[in-house]
């Protein structure tokens, strides 16, 4: 079974958007394009408000992803867990569709007797281990996030550590919003690990507004661009790498 590349947007924020399009609608748009949107709400003590939580859950729900509100301290563990959980969820969806193909009707894994689910799970596990994954990280750098950024950086390292233990390929890119001139600014182009983040993160400045919706919209175009422009290049890279090894 081929799953193609799994595409995810990981949004790390600490509150409500206050500019531009509705982020929930933008997440739905992402889902339509086969891109999952996961959201992590970072809070300090209990300062995150009800409205913020509703938005966070809404974005993940319409983006077909996973959401989680955590204290900054727990961020590392959460980032990798949310990403993996969303991967499994997506793969499960793929396997379910495949099953429906075979069994017909609206059957899902849950309709199989428990004994037969095991084999299906092995397929999902196997796919999760080997599938190619693209994660575009969107970091909210509005003023209130300023002192959480070192933790965010650390948790992104941790994420690449977790995902690079898989045998499948990973690509990460990092965007921040609001950017210096535009609403969204690219920090790191598609790369297999997040090691180069250190120097960039320390230079980050934080701004006032939180254009979450426009940030997601912009991120979507970046997935497309990458597919058309870079897919050829990256394939070449791989074959070269294999030869040199």
């Amino acid at each position: 079974m081929k799953t193609g590349t799994l595409k995810q947007i990981l949004l790390i924020t600490d509150g409500c958007s206050n500019q531009g399009e509705d982020p929930i609608a933008m997440a739905a748009l992402a889902k339509e394009q086969g891109i999952t949107v996961n959201v992590i709400g970072v809070m300090e003590r209990d300062e995150i408000d009800e409205k913020g939580i509703t938005e966070i859950e809404g974005i993940a729900m319409s983006g077909g992803g996973v959401s989680q509100v955590v204290y900054a301290k727990q961020l590392s563990h959460t980032v990798q867990m949310v990403t993996r959980k969303a991967m499994t969820q997506t793969l499960q969806g793929v396997v379910n569709r495949e099953l429906q193909h075979i069994l017909g009707g609206e059957k899902t894994v849950e309709d199989l007797p428990p004994d037969q689910r095991g084999e299906v799970m092995e397929v999902v596990d196997e796919l999760g281990e080997t599938a190619e994954l693209e994660v575009l990280v969107l970091v909210d750098t509005s003023a209130s996030m300023k002192h959480k950024l070192p933790t965010v950086k650390e948790s992104l390292f941790d994420l690449s550590l977790s995902l690079n233990a898989r045998s499948g390929e990973n690509r990460f890119s990092v965007f921040v919003f609001p950017g210096k001139k535009k609403e969204v600014e690219k920090l790191l182009d598609w790369s297999p690990n997040l090691g180069s983040l250190t120097s960039i993160f320390s230079k980050l400045t934080t701004g006032g507004i939180t254009p979450t919706g426009p940030a997601i919209r912009e991120a979507l175009t970046y997935f497309k661009k990458k597919r058309s422009l870079r897919s050829l290049l990256s394939r070449d890279d791989e074959s070269f790498f294999e030869e040199s090894v």
Binding site: Q68, T88, Q92, V109, G118, M121, D125, A165
Partner: protein
């Protein structure tokens, strides 16, 4: 962790609730909650006069995944690898359907409580048992993954350590499924999260540290230096320092190797008291010495002093002899 809380509040099953399986129609009466793991809640339940542990999760796939692990354990002889699996089923309740599996109820305190109750002389015994279990697990192509005192129960008597939560158990070579930061090699920057025996052995070393620091501690510099510093702070870890350091640095390739060096550590002690001065010629001893070189115990210093003393006496006598021969020749 937050996920557990939300799950917990969502699924508060009262004592006395009867859970009937959709497929196999077994009836389980909930007695109490035993605890919650990474992917679900475990209850103590009663089924035909037998006490069992029942694990429930709103994530059906994680239940299936754990059942797969337990099934594969069942094929291996002996029962040390994990709790034995009794039943897998779905429970239909008002709001929907939830997956659960039933396993043997392993009764006893967790590792830390056990050590607190029984005293530090048990540390070595349970760690040796644990390494034995891990060795068998590794030989069968698995890595336990989420190894921590909370997942280790000491049953008995006679006391025997058992691993209970297989949520993190991963096929060797894959990415670790579930882990706890304090026990995770990657968190401390001392390796990858790829499942290999060394990953579990790192966690064993951290368990030893956790025994000395029951509240654990946070990452500061977050590297080997911090861990070494913390190990040296505690008197009760002195004995194990060499083994801990080797495990932290991934120098052991198998649980058996770590177990042997732990055993040798023990053998070396009475001998070093008895033969304080004589340098040891036997190979095992030499190996132990190498492992414990970094230990700065009083005993070691004394022993090394003894060796130096012998060496100097030998040197002086040799020199005198050479002078004597020289004198004779001239």
């Amino acid at each position: 962790m937050m996920m557990n809380h939300s799950l917990k509040s969502q699924f508060k099953i009262n004592q006395g609730t009867v859970i009937e399986g959709k497929w196999h129609h077994n009836r389980y009466t909930i007695v109490k909650e035993l605890g919650y793991g990474a992917n679900g809640i475990v209850y103590l339940a009663q089924c035909r006069n037998q006490q069992v542990a029942l694990k429930m999760s709103d994530n059906g796939m994680s239940i299936t995944s754990e059942v797969n692990v337990l099934k594969s354990f069942a094929k291996v002889q002996g029962d040390c690898l994990g709790p034995s699996l009794l039943d897998v089923d779905d429970w239909i309740y008002k709001q929907g359907q939830i997956s659960f599996y039933v396993m043997e109820y392993i009764q006893g305190p967790d590792l830390l409580s056990f050590i607190q109750q029984k005293g530090p002389s048990w540390i070595e015994v349970v760690i040796l048992q644990l390494l034995n279990n891990l060795h068998r697990l590794h030989q069968n192509g698995w890595v336990f993954g989420d190894l921590k005192p909370d997942n280790l129960i000491v049953t008995g008597p006679p006391p025997r350590i058992r691993c209970i939560d297989v949520g993190g158990t991963t096929i060797q070579g894959r990415a670790i499924k579930e882990f706890t930061e304090f026990f995770d090699r990657g968190y401390w920057g001392l390796g990858t999260r790829k499942a290999d025996p060394g990953y579990d052995l790192f966690a064993v070393a951290m368990i030893l540290i956790n025994i000395a620091y029951p509240k654990r501690f946070n990452k500061t510099s977050g590297d080997l230096k911090q861990l070494i510093f913390m190990v040296r702070q505690k008197k009760e870890l002195q004995k194990y320092e060499g083994v801990i350091l080797n495990a932290l640095q991934g120098k052991y390739h198998s649980a058996e190797e770590m177990r042997n060096s732990l055993l040798q550590l023990n053998q070396a002690r009475p001998q070093s008291k008895a033969t304080n001065r004589a340098p040891n010629s036997n190979q095992n001893q030499a190996r132990t010495n190498r492992i414990v070189v970094s230990r700065q115990t009083h005993l070691k210093k004394k022993k090394r002093g003894g060796f130096l003393e012998t060496f100097f006496i030998f040197l002086i006598i040799s020199l005198l002899y050479i002078f004597y021969i020289y004198g004779q020749l001239v």
